[in-house]
Symmetry: C2
């Protein structure tokens, strides 16, 4: 008697660009979008790179997520999504990190992005993603997401026989 055959999906991290990430949300970085000088010319505002989406009954809250790294190479076994609101992650130090997102909760649909330390991401409402993947021993992110009534977390676990392996970065 043998078990079911197991399979491994390999993901090579892609560089993060606004165009590549568009199906999943917004890139929060100073390199694109409309910007203009304010404060007598001493500050440049890169305006409204993302708008928090918290629904009519939710409110946006600011939290800090302190991440510790997944072991390398990164193996992931599940995805989650927030059906009631967006969730933004912005590094509080210039350390690169990793994001895994998917249009469908299937191993073959996963895409990995290597995110620079000066880039944040807003994951759109309802988009499947893996929880925070820090790469450095201690890595703080400002998170803007929704507080409010209702169940705002769905999880999807892959079959035990499927392994998603993110190539080392």
């Amino acid at each position: 008697m043998t078990g079911a055959p197991s399979s491994t999906v390999r993901l090579a991290p892609e560089p993060l660009t606004a165009a590549a990430f568009a199906p999943f949300g917004q890139v929060i970085e100073a390199a694109h979008g409309q910007s203009y000088l304010i404060n007598g010319g001493r500050t440049r505002r890169f305006h409204a790179l993302a708008a928090a989406d918290c629904g009519a009954d939710g409110e946006p809250v600011l939290s800090i997520f302190r991440g510790t790294p997944w072991p390398q190479p990164v193996r992931i076994a599940m995805l989650e999504r927030h059906p009631l609101g967006s969730q933004a992650f912005v590094p509080m130090e210039r350390l690169p990190w990793l994001a895994v997102v998917a249009e469908r909760p299937q191993p073959e649909a996963c895409r990995a992005f290597l995110v620079r330390g000066d880039q944040g991401l807003q994951i759109a409402r309802g988009v499947w993603h893996h929880p925070l993947l820090a790469l450095a021993p201690v890595q703080d992110f400002l998170v803007v997401d929704r507080r409010g009534p209702g169940e705002n977390l769905e999880e999807h676990h892959f079959p035990a026989t499927v392994e998603v392996l993110v190539d080392p970065v």
Copy 2:
């Protein structure tokens, strides 16, 4: 004929603590507040350190402010406030910065805080404050504030004969 006498108000920057800043808003830092582990223990969430306040007709947007320093010693001549929404500033690098806030738009009411590089601030709706005071040559902040109808900026300029001098930090 002589001009009006001029005066200088000197401000010594105080260290930033949640208690000292309470009349003006919230400190966004990982050192206080309710925190708990998520993501299978790999992430600690310091939850809801601030809630964005955008009113019924506004929406919260995420922008990046790229600041350049005021000359040292810092001389300020005005304050501003946002009557329709809160405004949060969170450093994207671990570089200290300076905040000036006031309960009334008067030179004598100003208080200066030296903010550590791992601390952000949310300035509450309607609180008088000076525009961003960066200390390093180029300093990026994530800003969460309100977009929506109405005039969300009031400025108050001090009399030309009054100088507010923030002691060097």
